[in-house]
Amino acid sequence: MTSRWRRSVGELALRGRQRGECERAQEALGRVTSCFQQLAVSLGSSADGSFLRDEMDETRHLAQRICRGLSRRLLRLLSDCGPAPSIVEDKQVSDCGPAPSGVEDRQVSERLWVLFLSALEHFLSDLRKAYNLIGRFPLTQRNDRRSLVNTGCMDGVVAVAARVASVQAPWLTMEEEQSPDLTNHIAELEAMLSEMQLRVPVAFWSVEATQLAGAECGGLEGLEEGEDSLEELMEGEGGSRRPACCCLTCV
């Protein structure tokens, strides 16, 4: 095993690139999973159909590719770094070394790790719900459409699907693997999650948020179109304008 006491400039640059790759992949994963959720919300409703389900399959295959790649890279990133300097005794040789850049490096990698695992958990719960709903509302026969709930949604998922298609992951073109069906997909992700948690000991509670509470308020997003609040939008005919109040005071 080569001693890593002295890190070459090239090595550090490589790690930096790898981290950047992971960050971009993380953003892509976030985009794909949020689109998946938008599609899943229409499951079982009047907007449900084979088009929707196909789009959902596509979306989750993409998510799966990103997840696989990300997990491999993160595992590599964090096992290279070795155990966290804070846990290791002075006597032991730490691969990261006591240099401050090593500690920072470790912290950033841990942050990415926690980010990925949270995203994975969140996506997994969405997948389970979707699996449940698809089982409950199978569209195999014609009169199954009668049981779809009229929720007021007409299909508008084309744009969402387009958004998914626009997602770029750094390694998409390199790896082509088979896409599993939903049950296997869930099982694979669960295995991935437990494997990652077992392989690398990361104290996830030591990661601190970079944003303060309420930092996301009133960002550029909300001000783009002069967004109205839902209350204002819902003010239709016959809808009285009530101030927000607690149940007990309303009669």
């Binding site: 980010l115 995203a119 958990e121």
Partner: protein, 521 residues
């Protein structure tokens, strides 16, 4: 990434069966059937028109027709569907009830239906609140803001993910057409009103404690399984039976007696804390309160068990017995209870103490039980166990019940208590005050502190016992006035009477004189 099972749950981590959910879903699917279900109408908004809105009165009429019930019942059932989150109101979205007029409702999409298997995650709630923040600053309500701050603190490690995901979800939602976006926002908002209700409201998804056994798993059918069924059935057959007329009569009598005393069935004074969040009712009815309430005192007259089980009632009874110089009965009964319910290691010690104090010849607080029971008890005390004093305790209990209890109710002590008992005025809170109350809710005294207070009380009482009766080996003279005072015998002369076997070590026999002479202290 979530720390699960942070509490000592003794293996209880399964959400219980919620049969109402499956049943509601069946009704709901029928309700929205295009042929046999409800007729929907479009909802007209300023910017657009959204289909599939249904009116409250239509819902109630359809339910009454389909389930063959009257309107009132259909209305409560409809409200239950709303409270569970299967239908949501379009106007007045915070009140989850069905209004029997033209107010509009819509079906909730199955993704947002309540599930039994999965609890509603805080992560999702945090993302939802962050999304609301992104949309418009300062739009969160007070309780939502509190939740937000709390989640930011406890989910700090995930917070970057939460904000990132919120932004992505916001952007993804904007990709949809305007009417669909409005519908989605309504659906999401309705979902969170059901699962994170504002304070002061009751959530229909409350289910009490988690269970030990997973209701979704199938029980393995083994010989053991059948054996348990057999044992259960055999025990059911062997159970002693009572005529239903008798048992129902007892239930009716109980209900009639206690109806006015139940805080949920009738108005409790000053006000029901569960409804108004004002704890005066509990403070007035604390175990060791000086002046009890009228309702409480009335309950003491219902039965002797009721009197004894209420701490304040027992104190009053003890006072009465002290004046009557028969406090030893109650003391003995309490000592027996202590033995029965106490630690196994202390049984021997307690049994000895009870024998010395109450049962032995020449005991300072000797109790009057019949010869046979005394024989049985003394024999049993050679090898004491938890229930060794049961016959004696029962005898004393019946004695107190038949004799002292009646006299207690006619006594000046009780009459005094009744006169002094308070009847508080009813609270009349306005809406704003109710909100204030709900914000001022605080947890009650910790059980550790309560137990310490209890132990102090008991120690104080033990220090104050009065020894009030003669030993049974003196000439029986019931009209003789007896000593009452403290256990400090330094005033009394130590006298060994010739026909006594001798005083027990550590105990002194009170000074005895012949009949017809009064002794004062």
């Amino acid at each position: 990434m979530t720390i699960r099972n942070t509490l000592q749950d003794h293996g209880q981590r399964y959400r219980p069966r919620m049969a109402c959910l499956k049943k509601s879903e069946k009704v709901l699917l029928e309700m929205q059937d295009p042929k046999t279900g409800l007729k929907s109408q479009p909802q007209r908004l300023v910017i657009t028109t959204i289909p599939h809105a249904i009116t409250g009165e239509d819902i109630i009429a359809w339910l009454a027709d389909r389930l063959q019930v009257d309107t009132q019942e259909a209305r409560s059932f409809g409200s239950m569907l709303v409270a569970l989150g299967y239908i949501y109101p379009l106007q007045d979205h915070k009140r989850l009830v069905i209004k029997p007029d033209a107010s509009l409702y819509r079906f909730q999409t199955p993704y947002f239906w309540p599930t039994q298997q999965w609890p509603v995650e805080d992560t999702d709630y945090a993302i939802y609140l962050a999304k609301r923040n992104i949309r418009k600053k300062g739009i969160l309500e007070m309780h939502e803001q509190e939740h937000y701050n709390r989640l930011h603190k406890w989910m700090n490690h995930k917070w970057d993910f939460i904000v990132m995901q919120a932004k992505e979800q916001y952007r993804a939602a904007k990709e949809r057409k305007k009417p669909d976006r409005v519908v989605f926002d309504c659906q999401e908002r309705a979902y969170w009103v059901v699962h994170r209700p504002p304070p002061g409201t009751v959530s229909a998804m409350d289910y009490g404690l988690d269970r030990q056994i997973d209701p979704n798993s199938d029980e393995a059918v083994t010989p053991d399984f059948y054996e348990r069924i057999m044992i259960f059935t055999q025990q059911s057959i062997m159970r002693p039976r009572v005529k239903s007329s008798v048992s129902i009569g007892a239930l009716v009598k109980y209900c009639a007696t206690y109806n006015n005393h139940d805080p949920f069935l009738s108005n409790c004074l000053p006000s029901n804390p569960w409804i108004t969040d004002d704890v005066t009712f509990w403070t007035l009815n604390m175990p060791c309160v000086e002046i009890p309430t009228k309702m409480r005192v009335e309950r003491w007259t219902f039965s002797f068990a009721e009197l004894l089980s209420d701490t304040r009632g027992r104190d009053d009874f003890r006072l009465f017995l002290k004046k009557e110089f028969s406090g030893e009965n109650l003391a003995f009964w309490e000592a027996c209870e202590d033995l029965k319910w106490g630690k196994a290691a202390s049984i021997k010690e307690k049994a000895e103490h009870i024998y010395k104090t109450f049962l032995a010849r020449g005991a300072p607080r000797w109790i009057n039980i019949d010869g046979k029971t005394m024989e049985v008890t003394v024999k049993g005390l050679k090898h004491p166990h938890r229930y060794v004093l049961d016959p004696a305790q029962t005898h004393i209990y019946m004695l107190m019940k038949k004799d002292s209890y009646g006299r207690y109710q006619k006594s000046p002590v009780f009459k005094d208590t009744v006169k002094k008992a308070i009847c508080p005025d009813e609270h009349r809170f306005s809406g704003a005050q109710l909100e204030q109350n709900s914000k001022k809710r605080r947890p009650s005294l910790s059980p550790i502190i309560l137990r310490q207070m209890e132990q102090e009380q008991r120690a104080k009482m033990a220090a104050n016992i009065d020894i009030t009766q003669l030993c049974r080996f003196t000439t029986p003279v019931p009209h003789l006035a007896v000593y009452s005072g403290f256990t400090d015998y330094s005033h009394c002369h130590r006298l060994t009477l010739p026909h006594l076997p001798g005083p027990h070590p550590g105990l002194s026999v009170p000074h005895q004189r012949g009949p017809g002479q009064h002794l004062g202290v």
